[in-house]
């Protein structure tokens, strides 16, 4: 990994406690400049992302099992949905598998917490995007005391096993924590209330969750520290343009490293050309 890679700047070092307060949600580490320059850079990235995705997909059709899974976690209004939309804007959606995890259904609760996650994994050649993920199961239940602490504790281990299995099966996992400030969430919730076309997004329960902000930050710190392989990236998310640029850039760096190749079919183009041109 190149020293100047964004991965290098944003990754949490494994084996160390996580202190989210030490990360500024309004920072813009590694950005190619301000908003304008970053939007322009994201635009330029788009072309390369699209080509790398096509190569990944093409390789998948020829037996390459590799695929990518982008996991987005973050507090309400941190912009998980907006990030999905931005990233997909660069890609061919047919090669993507997007899933937004909601509160578990009655059926999902009857299974182990990874059951519903396994069903939504990207297939070889695909780029998967999770808006929330199996990490919800070490956050909400812990903060709301829905399960004993020992259960959350054992889930960290299950997640690590699960993610190691994924890696061994060719899945490159890119875990992004969209790091929003308490103040910026307030501004975003106020905006939802003020705009009649956004008010439907406002849920009074959002305020209740907000009161649990410190408990959520702590639950995140534990989850990020306990499940540190592959590493988490902490994405400052108060500025949408930075958040979008950074997630796109991380995806690009991982795809470049995978460097998938177009399959070279064993056929003689000249022969098939001739057949196409001489058919009746």
């Amino acid at each position: 990994m190149a020293k100047r890679d964004l991965r290098h700047l944003l990754r949490l070092p494994p084996g160390e406690p996580v202190d989210l307060a030490a990360h500024d949600p309004a920072a813009t580490p590694g950005a190619p400049g301000g908003k304008h320059a970053s939007l322009a850079d994201a635009e330029r990235m788009g072309k390369e992302l699209a080509e790398l995705q096509e190569r990944l997909w093409a390789a998948g059709t020829a037996g390459d099992r590799r695929r990518v899974l982008l996991v987005l976690q973050g507090m309400d209004t941190s912009g998980k949905g907006g990030t999905v939309k931005h990233v997909i804007g660069h890609l061919n959606p047919s090669g993507c598998r997007i899933h937004a995890f909601k509160a578990p259904t009655a059926e999902e609760l009857r299974h182990d917490f990874l059951w519903r996650v396994r069903k939504e994994l990207p297939r070889p050649g695909e780029i998967g995007i999770f808006d929330r993920s199996h990490y919800e199961d070490v956050l909400v239940p812990r903060v709301r005391h829905l399960v004993p602490p020992a259960v959350t504790g054992s889930r960290y281990g299950q997640i690590n096993d699960f993610e190691r299995t994924l890696a061994e099966d060719g899945v490159t996992l890119i875990k992004c924590f969209l790091h929003l400030s308490y103040e910026e969430q307030r501004r975003r919730l106020l905006r939802r209330l003020d705009r009649p076309d956004k008010r439907w997004k406002f849920a009074p329960s959002d305020i209740g969750e907000r009161a649990l902000w410190p408990a959520y930050q702590e639950a995140y710190e534990l989850a990020l520290a306990h499940c540190a392989t592959p590493p988490w990236y902490v994405i400052p998310a108060d500025r949408k343009w930075y958040r979008n640029w950074a997630v796109g850039r991380l995806l690009l760096e991982h795809l470049r490293e995978l460097d998938p190749k177009y399959p070279q079919p064993r056929l003689d183009p000249a022969e098939w050309r001739k057949r196409l041109l001489t058919e009746t």
Copy 2:
């Protein structure tokens, strides 16, 4: 439906035999002009499509069961994948459910042919896009004599029942046949052979399918005639810019007619504003 609607121009009238040869694959019915004008018009449509989709999604969160399912059928290289990419470009992919149906797997073959289709249906508020669909099961098996004609015959009825059930459950089905000419397919296959980065898409079996072109056209004519409610739209597909514009336009016309509304939550914005501003 307004007389000048594109739906009016492209729909096959129910109850009549279908003659695909009577439809020019290079025509551009209803286009706002040539390529340049149509691309500009598609750009303008994008904003309205995005807003209508958000309203559909928002209504879905408040109990509105309505959703849209865009079905794309057409011969190889007719541009189903390209159309998906274009249409999604206007939408929020998180509210879309895209599925590309391949040759049925062993497990899928053990079930009735609609089993795998039901699993991929859009949920309330979503826009589903099928790249191929249950119609494959009255095309390939018929052309390749994999099932007796009586089976295909009974499947038309099953499809009609299925699609009526969908309609009754709030699904607006938009069925598009991407109508490509034999000559244009030849050009597109030659291009795949000529470009090293596209050659992986070329399958020698494509040539075998091409030899069955008349049988496929006939199978399509029967399927389109037998399953005419909701109606099929025949999209001339030799010109990509027209195909993209037309499918986007059809989606727009259907969404306008659905006219989904943002839910009006029963809450007092002023009260919640105050709570957000006075919290510690």
